[in-house]
Structure formats: C-alpha cells, structure tokens
Amino acid sequence: MVPEKKNMDILYHSGTVLILLGLSFFLSGTVGLIRFPDIYTRLHALTKADNVGLGFVVSGLALQSGSWAVTAKLLLIWLLVLIASSASCHLIARSAMQKNIQPWTR
C-alpha cells in the first residue's frame, strides 16, 4: 500500500510541475500579445505559446488523473484546440492580408 501511495504522490507532483510550466507559456503568450507591434506578430505569440501551454497543462492533468479514459479525453481536447486555433489563426491572418494591413517591419 505504502509504495503505491508514494507513486501516486510522484505522479501528482510531476503533474503540478507540468501545469505550472504550461501556465508560464500562457503568461508569456499574453505578454507577447501586449508587447508585439502588429496583428501578425501577436498571432504568433497567441497561437504558439498557448498551444504549448495547453499541451503542458493537459499532460499535467493527465498525470494527476491516473485514468486512461480521462487522459484520452484530455488529449482529444488538446487536438481539437490545436485544429481550431491554427485554423482561426490562419483565417485572421488571411483577412488582415486581404485588408492590405502591412506587416510591421524593423
């Protein structure tokens, strides 16, 4: 009983570490959204940082859940968010291009 509980603790705490790591990606994506100069660079910040952030949060929660059904559900949710966010990112960039919004250059 005792070693099993210890195992669960290790899983739980590694999960916490992964979730915190994921949150730091969300935070940096938001910082990028505020600091970057134009619509295109802001899209980079949001899509990439949030996708990686969500990936870490999902892996952390999967470790903490200790259940295969929940893990599959979380991975599926991540995949659906990936598809939705990369498609909407492309659509926003395309509509900005069609409105002739020039990218910020150095």
Binding site: F25, K48, G53, A69, H90, A93, T105
Partner: protein
C-alpha cells in the same frame, strides 16, 4: 454506392468515438450525440470528399514526435521574444511554393506552418503559401521543407511530383 455507404459508416464510427471519448459512459448524452454525429458525418463527406490519399502509419509515427518537438521550439521561441527586454523581432513575408496536392495535404501543411518556430501561414493561393515570419534570420526554408517532406510521407505523396495547378 456500396463504397459511399461504407465511407459514411466509417465516418459515423469515427465521430462516435470522438463523442464517446468526450462524454464517457453517460447514455443520456447521446440525445445530443446521435444528431451531432450524423450531422458531422454528413458535413464532413460534403466538405472533405474521400480522397485518393493513403495515410501511412509509419508516417504518422514519424510525424508526431517531429510535430511535438517543433511546437515546443515554437513556444519557447515566442516566449523568449516576448519576455526579452531587447527587441528581438525582424518580421517579414516570404512566399513558398509547395508540391503537396490540393486538399487535406495542403490544408494540414498550412495549419502546421503556424506551429513551427517563427512562421505563420497568412495566405494560401493554389500551391503558393504566403508565410509571415517573426525573424527573417531563422532557417525558414529548412523548417518548411522538413515539414513538407513529413506531410508527403504521411500522405504517401511522392516529393518529385509538382502540380502546376
């Protein structure tokens, strides 16, 4: 016709598994689930008709680690540029002509470009993709070609064949 209904049932099976994974064993959820699965299957057949592609399983297993590694790089790259006290951006537009054929291969290509480090697909016209990059100093060509070859392997498209459409 037999072929068509087989494909319809395959998609119903696919979307049912998605629904089952999301909702679990809760029977009452299928009140919404059954219509949703039927509509999704019908719509997907209309919007993405069955293609000639044969997805390669080996290609999938090579694509997943490649994709995860590149997304992680992309995330770290953006994080570094967002948090740095110096201005690390040198954005620009580049155009890339792909040999991938029309349909799912090209769409997967355009969507995953946005997850590679420093690149974002801004426009897709025929076989030409306009890419916005965060830093013109990045090895954009190498990254995009790598992605293109992975998708070609995934969909079993031979890289030499260039479509002129």
């Amino acid at each position: 016709m037999i072929n068509f209904s087989r494909r319809f049932f395959l998609r119903i099976f696919f979307f049912s598994s998605v629904w089952f994974t999301l909702t679990g064993v809760d029977i009452t959820s299928w009140v919404v689930g059954v219509p949703a699965v039927l509509i999704a299957s019908g719509l997907s057949l209309m919007l993405a008709p069955p293609s000639q592609y044969q997805v390669s399983l080996a290609g999938v297993f090579r694509f997943i680690p490649f994709f995860l590694r590149q997304s992680l790089h992309g995330g770290i790259d953006v994080m570094r540029r967002a948090l740095s006290s110096r201005q690390l951006l040198d954005p620009g537009l580049v155009s890339y002509t792909t040999f991938l054929s029309e349909g799912s291969a090209r769409i997967l290509f355009a969507n995953t470009i946005s997850l590679l480090p420093g690149t974002l697909s801004a426009e897709l016209h025929g076989n030409s993709v306009t890419i916005h990059t965060l830093d013109r100093g990045l090895p954009i060509w190498a990254n995009i070609q790598g992605l293109e070859y992975h998708i070609a392997a995934l969909m079993r498209i031979s890289p030499g064949k260039r479509n002129s459409s």
